[in-house]
């Protein structure tokens, strides 16, 4: 569980996060949504420990990040997995090398133990025949799967995803969303996804936080987002004609 208490972050005169408080629960898929420039990425980087908040606290399972020593912070980092927007796979390494990298770096496992673990996670993300291929030789969807495999190989407690299905076709995007959701429940991870994708919101958003101009404008579930009267949220979520019609149908059905 991650508890965020009144987090502020500025860059010079630009006040990006203006007092965000929320709780991300364990075993749930938490989504951060909002327009470009609303502070989603800065918030995610604060949660990852890449940016330190100017004010406020972030608490990971009872441990306040600001109170941790450097070595404790490093240990905490090893409990985090991250799936980057562009996958961020190391292009000098094969798929297998990428997934094995955190094990090689931080564990004292034997080569065969590491190989078993790599085989297991690659199988879990439905990649069984790409071990020896390089990132440039596989598709965007496969790269995302490798990134997920690399993120979960160390059995993380927290999984962060920055727009995991951007640049993917709708079918692959849903597959990736479902994979992240399944992994979250299977391993009881606290997952936080930064997304623009309304399909993800509807499909897997067990908790949704809507950011606007650095403030937390709204929070709720994917079921509650249909019912909300918050104008900023409805403007954002139902910006496409398709979703407007879906909402209209829902309101008509309710009446």
């Amino acid at each position: 569980m991650i508890e965020v208490e009144d987090v502020h972050k500025s860059f010079g005169d630009n006040h990006v996060l203006k007092g965000i408080s929320t709780v991300f629960e364990k075993g749930k898929t938490n989504l951060i949504i909002g327009q470009s420039g609303s502070g989603k990425t800065v918030f995610l980087k604060c949660l990852l420990g890449l940016f330190e908040p100017d004010e406020g606290q972030i608490c990971y399972n009872g441990q306040y990040y600001s109170e941790l020593s450097n070595s404790e912070r490093r240990d905490l980092r090893q409990e985090m997995g991250m799936v980057f927007q562009g996958s961020a796979l190391f292009d000098s390494m094969t798929v297998e090398g990428n997934v094995m990298f955190p094990l090689d770096m931080f564990t004292k496992q034997s080569k065969s133990e590491m190989q078993d673990r790599v085989d297991f996670v690659l199988k879990r993300v439905n990649l069984v025949d790409a071990h020896k291929r390089y990132p440039s030789e596989i598709s965007g969807g496969m790269q995302k799967r490798v990134a997920i495999a690399r993120a979960i190989v160390m059995n993380p407690k927290y999984l962060f995803c920055d727009e995991p299905n951007s640049g993917l076709d709708p079918k692959t995007a849903i597959l990736i969303d479902n994979l992240i959701h399944e992994i979250t429940q299977e391993y009881d991870i606290t997952t936080i996804i930064n997304t623009h994708d309304m399909n993800s919101v509807m499909e897997i958003g067990e908790k949704i936080i809507f950011l606007k101009n650095g403030y937390k404008e709204w929070e709720g579930t994917n079921k509650e987002i249909f019912k909300t009267d918050n104008e900023a949220v409805t403007d954002f979520v139902y910006s496409s004609e398709l979703f407007k019609k879906v909402r209209q149908m829902y309101i008509e059905e309710r009446n």
Partner: protein, 265 residues
């Protein structure tokens, strides 16, 4: 607290003042980066393979161009010296002497370093810059890896092999000079070799190796700095490579002057 402005800055326009402050900031950031490189080391088995890979790419992969350039530079120095020694009173052995001094003192360590700043430096900047653009460096940081140690330290250690390349450059440069002198008819072989042995001071070789170690450090760290702290996309990677070549060359030239004054002055 009010900070007193150094007198030199009072004569600068506000724009020039900002530019100077940016350069000072960059210099400070560079030294902080160098300090960070040596903190929280990567596991030795991983580091060892990274170092071997970098030696292969940065040193072994540059040997061809170093040998090619050194051979012809040695030849050109010999021809230029021979053409400028018109007086019959000057012995032909001076051609060998001048070639040896030029190649050992300057051409092998300094000229080769400028070439390396272009070849190796732009490779380092573009490879680290691409990792920055594609968030691979962020991925390392998130995992808790000291990305500067992981990326820059193996390059520093690999470039410490650079004096071996300089030694080969010296040998090939003098060989090129000998071939140009003998086969170009500028000096007989015996005279050229006599010149090579004339007043030989072994400290000159030591001086060249000391310079090459310092230049190697500059070639590994200045381009790494430009790659690591770059912002933007693919276009900026190209710009960072060009800027890194310019600054690496400037630092090599200035360091060359300082070291020459300190060691030979």
């Amino acid at each position: 607290m009010k900070v007193k402005c150094p007198t030199i800055f009072l004569f600068l326009s506000p724009q020039a003042h900002i530019e100077h402050m940016k350069h000072l900031e960059a210099i400070g950031k560079y030294f902080i980066m160098v300090w960070e490189v040596f903190k929280k080391p990567t596991k030795w088995p991983i580091m060892k393979s990274l170092i071997l890979k970098e030696i292969d790419e940065l040193i072994y992969g540059s040997m061809g161009i170093i040998i090619f350039i050194s051979f012809f530079i040695g030849g050109v120095v010999t021809i230029q010296t021979a053409l400028n020694l018109n007086s019959p009173l000057l012995p032909k052995s001076l051609i060998g002497f001048a070639t040896r001094q030029s190649v050992i003192l300057e051409f092998a360590p300094t000229f080769t370093s400028i070439i390396m700043a272009g070849k190796v430096g732009s490779y380092i900047t573009s490879s680290i810059g691409t990792m920055r653009v594609t968030e691979q460096i962020d991925a390392l940081e998130v995992m808790g890896v000291n990305s500067l140690n992981y990326l820059v330290f193996p390059k520093i250690i690999a470039t410490m092999m650079y004096p071996f390349a300089v030694a080969i450059s010296m040998f090939v440069g003098i060989l090129g000079g000998w071939i140009a002198a003998v086969f170009g008819g500028y000096a007989p072989s015996g005279e050229f070799i006599k010149g090579l042995q004339l007043d030989f001071d072994s400290f000159h070789v030591t001086y060249a190796f000391i310079k090459s170690v310092v230049f190697a450090f500059v070639i590994a760290t200045v381009p790494s700095y430009h790659g690591f702290y770059m912002k933007g996309g693919a276009l900026e990677v190209g710009k960072a490579s060009t800027t890194s070549f310019v600054w690496t060359s400037v630092v090599i030239i200035i360091t060359n002057y300082i070291l020459t004054q300190l060691l030979l002055g």
